[in-house]
């Protein structure tokens, strides 16, 4: 069919009149306007909303529109398959194809587009947003989308592009039976009965809507429009769940499985928590294993999709009510662990963060295996987060996973695993920590020293001694050297003096002294030891010709001799 649903138009080629010189000039201006529209549309497709480029293009569109209104009172464009025509003059003409601007309208049945002055103040922006959404596939039906939006200054005329076959409708004929004689008995009766009593006015008075009726209808309309739709639909679904029909329950749960993430995203915590609470209650009430398993499966699925809850709650201005959070977090199953682990670092609201953390800890204590599995997650960040959590909770079951994680190629995962192993007592873990003292990554080595110090074993002490005596140690960063030396002191105590003295005062091959940074670090470490032997070793180095070393020696000696109760001067070379 090709019958427009809006005003009937004459699309006769001559209807626009001849294109005179002035029209050509106007047509050129319209072409520029259409081109500006296209540029903005492309920008909207390419950039996120709010991008300054979009604003720049929109400004150009506005300017073009305002210039246009000086020439014409409004712009009506006829949409051809691949062209836009103004008074039969093509103002956009490109080969028909997917990216064709005109075809985008044409294929959905739009045949005329009228743009009126004033649209540039608001409607045009929204119009282009809709077009961009359609082009990006985020809105399916351009015609329906525009129809629903119902712009007042952008009007359209459409046809339905599908074939309207009315051939199977009964044929009607206003001339049917023309001239035929009908039975007259009833007609005569009416004539004989005489004038009809005036009853309609009374009927009108009975039937007309009073002001009170109108107010009632208006109130009802407002109630309908304000209705919490998702909530009311949920109540209906829950009523359905109560039918003693397992198949129906399954259907309802399948629907809720789809609905819950949507509710959490929107966010509608009230309805989401209603579902969770009610279903658990109902499942318990029935006492039926099948039903309980059905509900548990839903909660497991919801738990997997907890990212929606967390991000929506974090982004929401008012956030969920306490009871709602309680209901939702309380219903979480092990499946929520990965999502929450991943989401936790991104939560900006401290109160929400605490609640999620608490919920997560509760879950992990219930389901420790789920978090240890995460240590092997493909995402190293997730593995590291998991290691942090098992470390905080000191889960012994996690050691195996942590040992595995300490061998991962990603330093961030190894480091977190080593840190965690420092908090959990196990022989296997201790060996892993010791091995990590030789890790290729300085951060992992530093973590290993800290962990080893905490574990306090003879293997750790020996390993650190080996590390600081190794040839490459003096090439390391001063900070790392200091951490190692501190760890060594912590494990060896007074016995550390000999090694430290060797570092400070001894010589390497070819009688070359150790690097100044290492000597300075050794001096500071001796301050920690703080014994007369340590002081003796420091005095031996008092005349070191390297200023940084001499300073460190001086400060360390002062600490031991005059102020042994204060913190040792180990923070570096600042003084």
């Amino acid at each position: 069919m090709d019958d427009p649903q809006d005003l009937t138009l004459s699309t006769d080629p001559g209807s626009g009149g001849p294109v005179d010189a002035v029209d050509v000039e106007t047509a050129e201006k319209i072409e520029e306007f259409v081109s500006a529209l296209l540029k903005e549309l492309k920008a909207r497709q390419s950039y996120v909303p709010g991008n300054p480029l979009i604003e720049r293009f929109h400004h150009a569109v506005r300017e073009q529109a305002l210039e246009l209104w000086d020439l014409i009172p409004h712009l009506t464009l006829r949409i051809d398959e691949g062209r836009l025509l103004w008074k039969d003059h093509p103002v956009y003409d490109r080969p028909v194809g997917h990216g064709n601007f005109a075809f985008m309208f044409f294929r959905d049945g739009l045949r005329t587009l009228a743009i009126l002055p004033g649209c540039e103040s608001g409607e045009l922006r929204e119009f282009l947003e809709i077009l961009a959404r359609v082009r990006q596939g985020r809105a399916a039906d351009l015609l329906a989308t525009l129809w629903h939006r119902d712009f007042s200054l952008i009007r359209m005329e459409y046809v339905d592009v599908s074939e309207d076959d009315v051939s199977d409708l009964p044929v009607t004929d206003r001339r049917a039976g023309e001239g035929e004689q009908l039975p007259t008995g009833e007609l005569e009766q009416v004539m004989e009965a005489g004038p009809v009593p005036p009853r309609y006015e009374k009927a009108f008075n009975e039937l007309r809507l009073t002001e009170a009726d109108r107010q009632y209808l208006q109130r009802e309309m407002e109630l309908e429009l304000d209705r919490p739709l998702a909530h009311d639909v949920t109540l209906a679904l829950l009523d359905q769940f109560e039918m003693r029909d397992q198949e129906r329950r399954r259907q309802v749960v399948d629907i809720l499985r789809e609905l819950l993430p949507r509710l959490l995203r929107e966010p509608d915590f009230t309805t989401a928590s209603l579902i969770v609470n009610e279903l658990q209650l109902l499942a318990n009430k029935t006492g039926e294993r099948d039903t309980q398993e059905l509900v548990a499966s839903l909660l497991r699925d919801m738990s997997e999709g907890m990212a929606e809850l967390v991000s929506a709650a974090d982004a929401s201005e008012h956030g969920p009510e306490d009871a709602e959070v309680e209901a939702l977090l309380g219903a979480l199953q092990a499946e929520a662990i990965p999502t929450l682990v991943r989401a936790l670092p991104a939560i900006s609201d401290p109160a929400l963060r605490t609640r999620v953390e608490e919920a997560l800890d509760r879950l992990i204590l219930r389901f420790p295996l789920h978090v240890t599995r995460l240590l092997g997650a493909e995402d190293p960040m997730l593995s590291a987060e998991a290691a942090g959590i098992v470390s905080r909770l000191g889960l012994p079951d996690a050691v195996e996973g942590l040992v595995e994680a300490a061998r991962r190629p990603e330093a961030i995962a190894r480091r977190a695993a080593i840190e965690a192993l420092g908090n959990i007592e196990s022989d296997e873990g201790d060996l892993t920590v010791v091995a990590a003292l030789e890790d290729s990554d300085p951060a992992v080595r530093v973590a290993a020293v800290t962990a080893a110090t905490r574990r306090d074993g003879p293997e750790a002490e020996e390993a650190i001694r080996r590390a600081i005596s190794a040839r490459g140690f003096e090439m390391r960063d001063a900070g790392e050297q200091m951490v190692f030396l501190k760890g060594f002191v912590a494990l060896s105590g007074d016995d550390a003096v000999e090694t430290l003295s060797e570092l400070l005062n001894g010589r390497r091959w070819w009688f070359v002294r150790h690097a100044p940074s290492l000597r300075a670090s050794a001096a500071r470490a001796l301050a920690i030891v703080g014994t007369p032997e340590a002081a003796e070793a420091l005095r031996e180095a008092q005349d070191d010709r390297t200023a940084a070393v001499a300073d460190a020696v001086r400060l360390s000696l002062r600490h031991i001799e005059h102020d042994p109760d204060s913190e040792p001067p180990i923070e570096g070379d600042e003084e």
Binding site: R155, L182, L207, Q218
Partner: protein, 472 residues
Amino acid sequence: MTSAQEQGVSTGVLTAMYNALKSIQLYPIENEIVGRSLADLQQQVDRVFEREGGLAVWVAGNYMFVNDVQVRLDLADYAVLSALRAALRAHGIGRIQFEAQVRRDEWVAFLTGLAETPRPGAEPLDAFRRRLQEAGVQRIVVGAPTALFTGEESVESVEAARRTYAYSVKAARDVMNGLVLGKAIGARRAERAVLRVVDQVMQDRASMLGMLTLRDYDDHSLSHAVNVAILSVALGEHLGFGRKHLFELGFAALFHDIGKVLIPTTVLNKQSWLNEEEWRMVSQHPDFGLLMLFDIEGFEEPPYRAMLATYEHHMKTDLTGYPRVIRRRRQGLFARIIAITESYDTAISRHNKQYKAAPPDEAIRQLRESEGSSYDPIVVRAFVNMMGIYPVSTLVILDTGELGVVVAPNPNSEAIGRPLVRIVAGPDGKRIGDGPIRDLAETDPDSGQPIRTIARSTDPDRYGINVSDYVA
């Protein structure tokens, strides 16, 4: 005056009216631009008065008329006149009668009212009239759209309604068949169908209501679905719903019985009373409908309102119907509307040997009598107001002895029992081909009494008359 001159004057007055409307929307009344646009409008109106002695603007279906001359629209005028027509339509205005010397304050009151969005819940035309009355406007009188079943226009309007009807039945069939076969159901075709119904009802309600006589041309359940959608959208429009909500209502109505696709046809089409088990099955269709509507894809969010209307349409206002309510709820307005329109369409349809279809006026009477039991009495009253005591397609005998078919309610809402009737047979019982349409509110200039009055309705079968010949 030549035809071209007539056209020029007509478009001139409508364009001036639109320009004044826009200027009032954009600027304060005191602004010079408003003053200029009002002066221009007055000048255009004066020109018409000078030439023709009066001015009336009509909107009927796709057409606009100035003093009964159809304004031929070309692309150049389309934008302005389409916007003006949309503004008039939003307020339910189908005709405007202007008297000479309209005062500036009257123009301002009229245009300001037109520029505002009608309040939902109130019949927009009545609200607009009250507004004019309160502002003391005497020289501008507004009225409802009329069908103008007088010439070629009506044929086109009816043809458009027929296409919309056929399309909608097919869309409903596609969705329902798809659901039966367990296929993924896209909303697009159904959505298009409903928006076409909304547009068509807004353009020419009577032509769409006439399509109800095409019932049973396809599977009864499909034509019933479309009929209920048409009636519901028409009632929604009468109540002042905006397009968005008319769409939602139409969509809900189109699928209100979708759950019945899961009930065996042997039960649905059973020619005798249903036994207890069969009744139990049938009464589950709202439950099934609620669940099935989740299978329709293509909406940004699930069609919640349609789901609720589907679920609640048999609940009754006191919730004594079905499905059984466990959690607190009240029957929503959409469900109450659909309950009434469904009941009406069921009453006038014969799809079962057990029931005989009631004439439309009888169906209306039954609804009036049932007020307060199952249905919302005020929504029933609004429905009767919209349909009239003699709805479209009622065959009536006039006190003149003529036989006629109601083709449209009277545009004057007070003439509730005086619809527009197409005469199909004279007092002698001779059938007339393509007879004239008579406005039963028309009075004899001498006596002031109505020229024709309905004496009674009658059964078309008795005369072998197919009423759809006159309204569809």
